[in-house]
């Protein structure tokens, strides 16, 4: 009886031991597990972007586009993220908002840039949205909220424009669920730390915007759709403190950052 028991325990330990040893290897890298940007996602991305490009004005100023491009490229390079697949669109809209669309598209509202006190705040939000695309949150959210069958019929061109508009609205003005938001926040802090950007202003931004709340003249879409901003600011700080990073370098120089804001103000 005792011998059987010991053998049983050894068998269980052997399994968990094998699992533990195998866990030490970065299998995601070994197997090159990457998000497959399939045709459905690509088609959905095109359809949804068409909704925004039709109803909103895209800012194509060379200075604005290049400045944002520098930020995204820097973050991607520091974190080994493929830059070419990411598409960045800046929309002239006063709302403080940024979101990700399928097919790795990032939409940034000029209101967000203008209301960021420094570039680190903006970079924090961009990193958060890059994290959503990298962690495949966009498609997961759509599958959950709309259903795969509707998405497939949308990509096949069989859905009405109302459904597409509604889907665009879900992505631009509703939050991901709590665990996904936290996952994206923590990933954003990791991206920032690797790029030697101080995540503290990003936490301050969340804290400040949540405090401003409904008294603000502008629509705080990004904050109101992301619940518990104070709590988020706190765990961003906690996570950042663990990195012990003290040597920070801005991506844009001060003049470029100021000029970027001026350009956006003038294009209003």
């Amino acid at each position: 009886m005792r011998k059987t028991l010991i053998q049983g325990v050894i068998t269980i330990l052997l399994f968990f031991g094998t699992w533990f040893v195998l866990k030490q290897i970065d299998w995601v890298k070994v197997f090159n597990v990457q998000k497959v940007t399939n045709k459905t996602e690509q088609k959905l991305g095109e359809l949804l972007w068409a909704v925004f490009s039709k109803n909103e004005k895209e800012n194509t100023s060379v200075y604005v586009v290049n400045s944002l491009d520098s930020i995204v490229t820097f973050i991607c390079k520091a974190n080994n993220i493929e830059r070419l697949s990411k598409k960045v669109h800046i929309l002239d809209n006063e709302d403080i908002n940024a979101f990700a669309l399928p097919n790795e598209q990032l939409i940034i509202f000029s209101g967000l840039i203008l209301n960021s006190e420094n570039q680190e705040e903006l970079i924090g939000v961009i990193c958060h949205e890059i994290a959503h695309t990298e962690l495949n949150h966009v498609m997961k959210k759509l599958v959950k909220e709309i259903g795969l069958s509707v998405l497939l019929s949308m990509s096949a061109g069989n859905a009405g424009s109302e459904i597409i508009k509604e889907t665009a609205k879900i992505l631009s003005s509703s939050a991901y669920d709590r665990t996904l938001e936290k996952e994206a926040d923590i990933k954003a802090v990791e991206y920032m730390v690797r790029a030697k950007i101080n995540p503290e202003p990003f936490a301050n931004f969340l804290y400040r915007q949540s405090a401003v709340g409904n008294n603000s003249p502008t629509d705080l879409t990004w904050i109101s759709t992301h619940p518990d901003s104070k709590e988020r600011a706190e765990y961003i700080i906690v996570h950042f403190k663990q990195s012990k990073l003290t040597d920070f370098k801005p991506i844009l120089n001060k003049r470029t950052w100021e000029k970027l804001k001026d350009e956006l103000k003038n294009s209003k």
Partner: protein
């Protein structure tokens, strides 16, 4: 019982010499789980059900057959736990927000290794029991000895 001691398997003679029919049925109990693995993929419970039906069908059979049906059933039980966990983990990745991590891949590889070991051991045991040779597995053999007793 006379044994040739191996690392994970004991090979030897049973308390009595099993007849041709007994050896065939005992061997089939292992084959049953192999066929069910192929037929039942990816659902991990099919092979357990198959061996369970075979076990129930033969529970009044001779000691040699009962013994091997029990060992085949017990060996499926532990793989069931490993595979069920892996199966539901995979389902949660496909249908929910859970994403593929190195932890998950390590689990799947570990599960595959255990399944492969079990698969090879099952084939080997099926061949040997067909020849009337008694095979006791590490842990499962002892466990079977505790559960399955000779009626005489």
């Amino acid at each position: 019982m006379e044994y040739h001691k191996g690392i994970m398997i004991y090979k030897g003679q049973f308390v009595y010499e099993p007849g041709e029919h007994e050896a065939e049925t005992a061997s089939n109990s292992y084959l049953m789980s192999l066929i069910a693995i192929i037929a039942g993929l990816p659902l991990p419970i099919i092979n357990l059900i198959a061996t369970l039906i075979f076990y129930i069908g033969n529970r009044k059979s001779t000691y040699f057959i009962r013994w091997h049906c029990t060992q085949a059933l017990l060996s499926q039980l532990s793989v069931l736990f490993i595979n069920s966990f892996g199966f539901w983990w995979t389902i949660s990745i496909i249908f929910t927000e859970v994403s593929i991590t190195s932890n998950y891949l390590a689990y799947i590889i570990a599960a595959l290794l255990f399944n492969l070991t079990e698969f090879i051991a099952t084939i080997y045991t099926a061949i040997q029991t067909r020849k009337g040779i008694h095979i006791e597995w590490w842990f499962y053999g002892n466990l079977t000895n505790l559960i399955c007793k000779s009626k005489s």
